[in-house]
């Protein structure tokens, strides 16, 4: 996406425009007003006397509001503009725009102000893939509104455009013929509302509720509720603030739970529920904003699979992958109502449920979700074991629009042998087994303490122990001393060295005797770049420092690796990873991208951003939060929070105040003492 675009959003509604506030049709960029995965406005251009305006400045007031200062014509320092134009825009049920025109002349002026408007009603998938529309367009003037309409059979979407000052409604916009007095000001309030057929009433109430929500969920309140960070490092303090603000912007409410917000996956393409992304972001942010985890657990429970559906890769008990509302989904040309093709969200759901209870003590929710938790455990044993070998593996049943790789490394070439060959399907990637182990271990705790079913707990613990034993035998690459990224369709080890071994530490599936060797790889030159751990190690057949899952560094991946290092007692190493990623964040003004290049730190001296589609990306936004947890060594223990800091030296003094949890609120303090340069050098020997 071009960097000079301005985006504001609320929930799944967002507006992307240029710095003048104009929206011009674009096939490559997601410019326009989008809601429910549909572009309700693809053109919105302001002219005065037929001429476009020039931007003087743009103010991002809040993530849902912005203000554009404009003058007519091109700016020239030798000409004083005789007129100023201000557009103040806020998103909510569509958007509202206050348009103000100021005449600086000592005489009245007569001008024509025009807003040209059009809608292509493209599905987000169509914007991405440049597909043709199958329905009909119409334009109509209804009671002073300009109504843009798209119809395909019973599917109907409309955009209603109106103005507080009565406009001349034209076929492609609104016109105002004005006379503004000397030094006078004129303004009007424009409103753009989207309508989904069958939900007219619902849309209106949603619009009203959104305005109220905005008051209640204001950014200040959100920031006030989160723990306060005081830190010698200005860069880390700024990154923390940026993460909280971006998390607020990524909050998303579903149709069924208007009062609970969960994290959407990323702006602009992924403003929807993703099982994996919402769960991992909730895990990262648990010590800071635990309400996101609760909303995620409830929303995913409501849509848990109940039947076999090959088109949607649905099974009973499976946690969804992605939900969409656009035209292609409506006509079942895409499987996203919702699509279930992932192999990790289901075990991760159980991990989140337990971790949420450990932080909050909310046993009521754990009781409420007992059925869903048991169904998820049932899925792991009955539906995910495609090869009958006791491991989760995946192979899509929807071979056209389903996902090939159903793990977080979901690009086509992400899972490969050392020599670069791609394995067949089903594939049992290693981190899935770690998640399953962790899920069963944690579910056993919940079964014993909350569901009062000790027999079930015993069974789960026995299964987990058995899985761990088999896993350490079957996935261990003897001569390399690390875990294979996967077993292929024949049960052979897919033997490339990858960051996935770090997730295994997080899950606790690694035998203690093997942990040291795993850590040596993670911190060694082939995987660790100086900024972070690469997705694929240097020297592997498909390694490419700017390959999506084959060499780049993913901040989210590293945050879980740091948590894993802590779990096995490698505090200094966790500090090294945190130090690298937090330093990288400084180069991106505190907003970590989805991924950056795997070049060594000495080579580039700055992290090279991967050309990514989404920013902010939820789990990159959550990464600094989890890294802070890791270096502070925050761990719930019964009704207490253990604080065991091992901070990178350059962070200096750091305080995290008012950490919410079952203990009420607790403060954590630490002083940087880990010499990350030396720790790195030692590890590499």
């Amino acid at each position: 996406m071009s960097t000079d675009l301005v985006q504001i959003l609320e929930g799944n509604t967002f507006v992307v425009s240029d710095t003048r506030g104009d929206i011009e049709p674009s096939v490559s960029d997601p410019t326009g007003l989008f809601a429910f995965d549909t572009r309700f406005l693809s053109s919105w251009i302001l002219t005065i006397d037929g001429k476009r305006l020039t931007a003087l400045s743009t103010d991002d007031l809040q993530y849902f509001a912005t203000r554009f200062f404009l003058v007519p014509g091109s700016t020239n320092v030798y000409d004083n503009a005789q007129m100023s134009i201000i557009r103040e825009r806020a998103v909510g049920g569509g958007f509202q725009e206050r348009l103000t025109v100021m005449n600086h002349e000592p005489t009245p002026v007569e001008i024509t102000v025009r807003i040209q408007a059009a809608a292509d009603f493209a599905d987000l998938f169509e914007v991405k893939d440049s597909l043709k529309k199958k329905g009909q367009y119409a334009t109509e003037a209804i009671e002073g509104h300009l109504v843009l309409r798209y119809t395909r059979e019973t599917y109907r979407r409309e955009t209603w455009i109106s103005s507080s000052v009565k406009p001349v409604v034209e076929n492609d916009g609104l016109r105002f013929d004005l006379k503004i007095p000397a030094h006078g000001t004129w303004n009007t309030d424009l409103e753009v509302v989207y309508v989904i057929a069958g939900f007219e009433e619902f849309g209106k109430s949603r619009g009203r509720r959104r305005a109220e929500d905005r008051m209640a969920r204001g950014l200040d309140k959100w920031l006030d509720k989160a723990p306060r960070l005081q830190c010698d490092s200005e860069s880390v303090a700024a990154t923390y603030h940026r993460s909280l603000v971006d998390l607020a912007a990524l909050r998303f409410t579903t149709l069924t739970m208007p009062n609970h917000a969960l994290p959407a996956a990323g702006l602009p393409w992924f403003m929807t529920i993703f099982g994996r992304d919402s769960i991992l972001t909730s895990l990262q942010s648990l010590p800071f904003t635990p309400e996101l985890a609760k909303a995620t657990l409830l929303a995913l429970a409501e849509r848990q699979g109940t039947r076999i559906d090959d088109f949607r890769d649905e099974d009973p008990g499976r946690i969804l992958h992605e939900m969409r509302y656009g035209e292609l989904t409506a006509f079942e040309e895409r499987p996203h109502t919702p699509y279930y093709g992932n192999a990790d969200a289901t075990p991760l759901y159980l991990v989140l449920l337990d971790e949420y209870e450990r932080w909050t003590g909310d046993t009521k929710l754990v009781r409420q979700l007992e059925f869903e938790a048991r169904a998820a455990l049932h899925w792991i044993d009955e539906y995910a074991d495609l090869q009958g070998n006791g491991y989760i593996s995946y192979k899509r049943r929807n071979e056209k629009t389903g996902l090939e790789n159903q793990c977080w490394k979901d690009s086509w070439d992400s899972i490969s042998f050392h020599d670069g060959r791609l394995p067949g399907f089903p594939r049992a990637t290693c981190e899935l087994q770690g998640y399953a182990y962790d899920a069963k271990t944690r579910a056993a705790r919940l079964a014993r303490t909350v569901w009062h079913d000790p027999d079930f707990a015993d069974r789960l613990e026995k299964e987990a122990a058995d899985l761990k034993r088999r896993f350490n035998r079957d996935f261990w690459v003897q001569d390399g001393e690390y875990f294979a990224i996967a077993l292929d369709e024949e049960g052979r080890q897919v033997d490339s060295l990858t960051s996935n071994i770090g997730h295994l530490l997080w899950s606790g599936i690694v035998d203690k005797s093997k942990a040291k060797a795993v850590v040596k790889h993670l911190m060694g030159e082939r995987l660790f770049s100086g900024w972070g751990v690469r997705t694929l190690a240097e020297g592997e057949g498909r390694y490419n420092p700017i390959g999506y899952h084959v060499g780049t560094i993913w901040p989210f991946d590293n945050s879980f690796i740091a948590w894993g290092l802590r779990r096995y007692g490698f505090k200094d190493e966790a500090a090294v990873v945190a130090s690298g990623i937090l330093a990288a964040a400084g180069f991106f003004d505190g907003r970590l991208p989805e991924a950056f290049g795997g070049y060594t730190r000495q080579t580039t001296n700055y992290p090279v951003q991967y050309p990514t589609a989404c920013s902010p990306q939820a789990w990159s936004t959550g990464a600094p939060l989890l890294l802070l947890r890791a270096v502070l060594g925050l761990e719930p223990m019964g009704d207490h929070l253990v604080v065991d800091p091992a901070l990178p030296e350059e962070l200096g003094h750091l305080e995290l105040l008012d950490i919410p949890g079952r203990w009420g609120r607790i403060d954590a303090f630490g002083r940087g003492r880990v010499d990350t340069q030396r720790a790195t050098a030692t590890r590499r020997r």
């Binding site: 059979e153 019973t154 599917y155 109907r156 057929a197 069958g198 939900f199 009433e201 619902f202 149709l255 069924t256 739970m257 409501e302 849509r303 848990q304 109940t306 039947r307 076999i308 559906d309 090959d310 088109f311 949607r312 649905e314 009973p316 008990g317 509302y325 989904t329 409506a330 006509f331 079942e332 040309e333 895409r334 499987p335 109502t337 919702p338 409420q368 059925f371 169904a375 049943r397 929807n398 071979e399 056209k400 629009t401 389903g402």
Partner: protein, 136 residues
């Protein structure tokens, strides 16, 4: 996934013939416990048909226990749907959420109930799924 706790059929009179798929579906639900609906309470009225030719099905959900009848009752959510579309959904030939997005199902009242309830509808038969995959 649903555990059945079958009771006697609701004797209320329908309009169509006995082997109507819609009747089979709704009567089959009556008296069942659907654990996926365990956290919810409310009544959905399905108005099936068009114009004045509407058959009302009242589906009451209470902690997963389902009661189905034609008896007039207060409904939290009303779902208007054509006979053929309803038949397609209850036989797994059409996805209910897709039907909502297409405007084939017109909801009124508490919309969330239909989103929750749609998980009780059957999935597509393998041949139906294959056809969907092929055209996607």
């Amino acid at each position: 996934m649903a555990t059945t706790r079958k009771t006697t059929k609701t004797p209320a009179a329908g309009s169509a013939d006995e082997d109507d798929a819609i009747e089979s579906f709704f009567y089959g639900l009556d008296g069942r416990n659907e654990p996926p609906l365990g956290r919810f309470k409310g009544t959905i009225r399905f108005d099936v048909g068009s114009g004045t030719e509407l058959v009302h099905w009242y589906v009451a959900i209470d902690a997963g226990d389902i009661t189905v009848s034609h008896r007039n009752a207060r409904a939290d959510s009303v779902i208007l749907i054509g006979h053929e579309d309803c038949e397609a959904i209850v036989t797994g030939r059409m996805n209910a959420m897709a039907a909502v997005l297409r405007g084939l199902i017109v909801p009124a009242g508490d919309f969330s109930l239909i989103v929750l309830f749609q998980r009780v509808f059957p999935g597509p038969a393998p041949a139906v799924a294959r056809a969907l995959i092929a055209k996607s």
